[in-house]
């Protein structure tokens, strides 16, 4: 009964989405206020019904209703309750439902926080988001119904993929989707502006906080995904340039470029066409990611079960949404006249430079991700593109972006003076170069990429300091600085911290694979690892061999780690559960390989020393906090109050 209720709720949500899309868009075109006013209630109703559907599915998982095919395939009676709940979005169907719920959530948020916008703008934005909802709801109902029954019901479920049974995976997908789907708001604003033909600076101001919040969520989602891969996959890597990862990284790069371009469009009225195109691109890449991950055109370590019918549907949807928006763009492009001239050395020019570099990096990632598909489609064979390509192309492209990041915020709009800039930043530059050259000498080996990474990290850090110092010298106090200034500087600081972390861990990590008998020890990076054997351990839905490894330094016992080798009961899938001891400056990471003898006394053990890896997550968190701070800046709220009376007056007239 409950699954049928959920199915029914989805159908109602679809009808509401159709209402939300069609009536307001017609109303906005004809200037009919009655039709336009349908948008808000329809959007909110759609949200309510998608949430009902989601609760029904979650309930089916929690009560182990194995007559529902999705539950039978992705859950298990022994699975702990928390994971039974998160299994709701562990499958293709469930995650798509989550996507729809989050899209409806964003739509509802827009419907609530848009009191200050003109009615036709709100109607168009909600209408466009309704169109996207229709696409996804139809997709869900026709090809991926999460409520399909399986009769006769199996005795027990097949269990959730053991890799996903980790708390990093509980919050990673919702955060990631908040980011992906959040770009739909910026997309809808851009389409609404194109439809109305009013491409002034106002739409840039309206979509800025939404874009920044979506970007912050996406940053958090990607960081969580990387952190999960690091702990859960058992080989100590944190980024693999896998197609699925790239699918989330590409919208992030486009979103980063969009945030910076929106700033210029809002403040100076420049780059209008470019900003619109970026807004379309960021969401298009989110959709493209969905297609790549769910259609099976690329092979990836963590793709969903694939089905050509689904792939064909998403591709048709992509053509409609992206193709349609690009046609609209091309049609309206002549109306987008850029205002506000600037010289080659100004904040505008620097931000444009930063955008060009980011887009080049985006192109490189896109090419690398799609290259196997292109070659295969041309009948030229099967290849795979791995980290060597991406590192060789992406890292050097980031160099100018990081350098410009330091100067951009300090340059004046319209026209800046190069000699002035040099005199303001000469010390920062000198210290950064010196740090880059000298710091590696104190570490294990002098490596060119380490020099570059340290110099760039220090450069961004010092320019952030210069930014604060100059503001304070001009009479501002820390408490009077705007939140958008704090947000930007925190996010840039996060980048500095993250770059430092990546630099150290990529250049100075060490690992060792050893064969260990009970009592054996091995040395790594000044630590001594002693193997104390394994014991049988029975988990809720798995059996494990749990190892005990003592870590000591200079004869002093520091930590005891318990890496596990698990076999999951339902699937029989073996899993390596690494044990990580996180410290601010280094991680000690131990993973159990395979037993090397019959009694399982001797094991292949892999030990890692990962210096500074935590700086990567700390840096990401700073960026996230920066994003939220910037989006909560007072002027967006002041704009609400100031605009409210005029909107009311316009309605009265």
């Amino acid at each position: 009964m409950i699954p049928e209720l959920g199915h029914f709720a989805l159908i109602v949500a679809l009808l509401l989405a159709i209402t939300q899309a069609v009536l307001p868009l017609i109303g906005a075109q004809r200037g009919n206020l009655t039709l336009m006013s349908v948008a808000r209630p329809a959007a909110q109703g759609q949200f309510v019904f998608t949430v009902i559907a989601f609760i029904c599915l979650a309930y089916s998982f929690l009560v182990n209703d194995f007559t529902v095919e999705n539950v039978a395939s992705n859950s298990f009676s022994q699975l702990p309750e928390l994971y039974r709940f998160t299994a709701t979005w562990g499958s293709h169907e469930g995650s798509l439902l989550l996507w729809v719920v989050i899209l409806a959530f964003w739509t509802t948020a827009v419907s609530v926080f848009s009191r200050h916008l003109p009615d036709d703008m709100v109607a168009r934005v909600l209408g466009v988001m309704g169109l996207i909802s229709i696409g996804f709801l139809v997709f869900l109902l026709t090809t991926s119904n999460p409520f399909d029954r399986l009769l006769p019901a199996p005795m027990d479920g097949r269990d959730m993929n053991p890799l996903l049974q980790d708390w990093g995976m509980i919050i990673h997908p919702p955060m990631l989707y908040m980011g992906y789907v959040g770009f739909a708001v910026a997309f809808a604003f851009a389409i609404a502006a194109l439809l109305s033909g009013r491409l002034d600076a106002a739409w840039a101001r309206w979509s800025r906080p939404w874009t920044t919040v979506a970007w912050a969520f996406l940053t958090l989602g990607i960081a969580l995904g990387s952190w999960w891969a690091y702990r859960e996959l058992g080989w100590g890597g944190w980024w693999f340039w896998d197609p699925t990862e790239n699918a989330s990284f590409m919208p992030w790069i486009a979103g980063t470029a969009l945030i910076h371009s929106l700033a210029v469009t809002e403040k100076r009225g420049a780059f209008k066409a470019w900003t619109v195109l970026l807004a379309l691109t960021a969401f298009s890449l989110s959709l493209l990611g969905t297609f790549l991950v769910r259609s099976g055109v690329l092979s990836s370590v963590h793709a969903f079960a694939t089905d050509p019918a689904r792939g064909a549907f998403i591709l048709a949807f992509l053509v409609l949404v992206i193709g349609g928006s690009l046609v609209l763009y091309a049609w309206r492009a002549p109306k987008m006249l850029s205002g506000g001239g600037f010289t080659w050395f100004s904040r505008e020019a620097l931000l444009l430079g930063n955008n060009v570099v980011l887009l080049a990096a985006l192109g490189a990632v896109l090419l690398g991700t799609l290259y196997p598909l292109l070659i295969d489609a041309l009948g030229m064979g099967k290849i795979s593109v791995g980290p060597p390509y991406f590192n060789a192309v992406f890292v050097p492209l980031m160099a100018p972006a990081l350098f410009l990041m330091g100067i951009g915020p300090l340059a004046r709009w319209k026209e800046a003076s190069l000699p002035d800039m040099v005199s303001r930043l000469k010390w920062a530059l000198a210290i950064s170069v010196a740090t880059g050259l000298l710091l590696p000498l104190t570490l294990d080996g002098f490596k060119p990429w380490a020099v570059f990474g340290f110099a760039m990290s220090m450069w961004i850090f010092l320019t952030v300091l210069v930014g604060f110092r100059e503001r304070l010298k001009n009479g501002a106090r820390l408490s009077t600085l705007t939140r958008s200034f704090w947000g930007m500087q925190l996010a840039h600081l996060g980048m500095a911290v993250g770059v430092a972390g990546i630099t150290v861990v990529a250049n100075y990590e060490v690992e060792r694979d050893v064969r260990m008998d009970i009592g054996d020890h091995t040395e790594l990076a000044g630590y001594t690892f002693t193997f104390r054997g394994t014991t049988e351990h029975v988990g809720p839905n798995y059996r494990a061999a749990r190892g005990t490894v003592e870590v000591s330094k200079n004869g002093k016992k520091l930590y005891v780690l318990h890496p596990e080798k698990r076999i999951y009961n339902a699937s029989g899938m073996p899993m390596t559960e690494a044990s990580v001891r996180p410290v601010l400056f280094d991680d000690i990471y131990v993973a159990l390989g395979e037993p090397l003898d019959e009694e399982a006394k001797t094991w292949a053990v892999r030990v890692f020393h990962k210096p500074f890896i935590n700086w990567l997550w700390i840096g990401s968190l700073l960026m996230v906090v920066g994003g939220f701070l910037a989006a909560s800046d007072r002027r967006y709220r002041i704009a609400v109050k100031a605009a409210a009376p005029t909107a009311a007056a316009a309605q009265g007239a």
């Binding site: 297609f291 064909a312 799609l370």
Partner: protein, 173 residues
């Protein structure tokens, strides 16, 4: 003209995607196609005293299906394999791959056994020799013991009709 560039680039990509939907990225061409099938001798599930070796199949066209009881997508093709076994096309040998919990015998007793023989590759070493990348995988071997084709992933009735039947017909089955 400039304003149409994004659309044109996008449409080119769509062309590739549309083509890509009909390709299988997991299907890596096997270097064994046209070469002699790697030899092995393994005990048979349910009867540890008997062994199976590809050499016994000389003179026959046969199919080798790599499967495992823990493999979910192997269950999808199980029904089709049962039907094929009844229609007596070519004998199907089921290489039971890395079945650490020894569940194959029970499973086949419960769900039906479509296999001519079920050699047990507990360590997965034979799988390595054959270049198995995952389960299920299915090979067609001719009278002379030469591997003629390989399919990665579960077999659906359509795949059997379009891919296997022509090949088997060509080999005279």
């Amino acid at each position: 003209m400039k304003r149409w560039i994004p659309l044109i680039l996008f449409l080119v990509l769509v062309g590739f995607f549309a083509k890509g939907l009909f390709l299988n990225p997991r299907e890596v061409p096997s270097p064994f196609i046209g070469k002699a099938a790697p030899d092995f001798t393994l005990p048979v599930v349910g009867d540890p005293n008997t062994t199976f070796s590809p050499a016994e199949m000389k003179g026959k066209v046969w199919v080798m299906n790599v499967w495992a009881p823990w493999c979910v997508s192997c269950r999808q093709e199980h029904g089709l394999l049962m039907a094929l076994a009844q229609s007596q096309t070519a004998p199907i040998v089921g290489l039971n791959w890395k079945d650490k919990d020894r569940e194959a015998e029970m499973l086949l007793a419960r769900e039906g056994n479509p296999y001519f023989a079920v050699p047990e590759d507990l360590s997965g070493k034979v799988g390595i020799d054959w270049g198995v990348t995952g389960t299920p995988e299915t090979y067609v071997i001719d009278q002379a013991g030469i591997v003629r084709m390989k399919h990665v992933g579960p077999i659906s009735p359509e795949i059997w009709k379009e891919k296997f039947e022509p090949k088997l017909k060509e080999l005279g089955v």
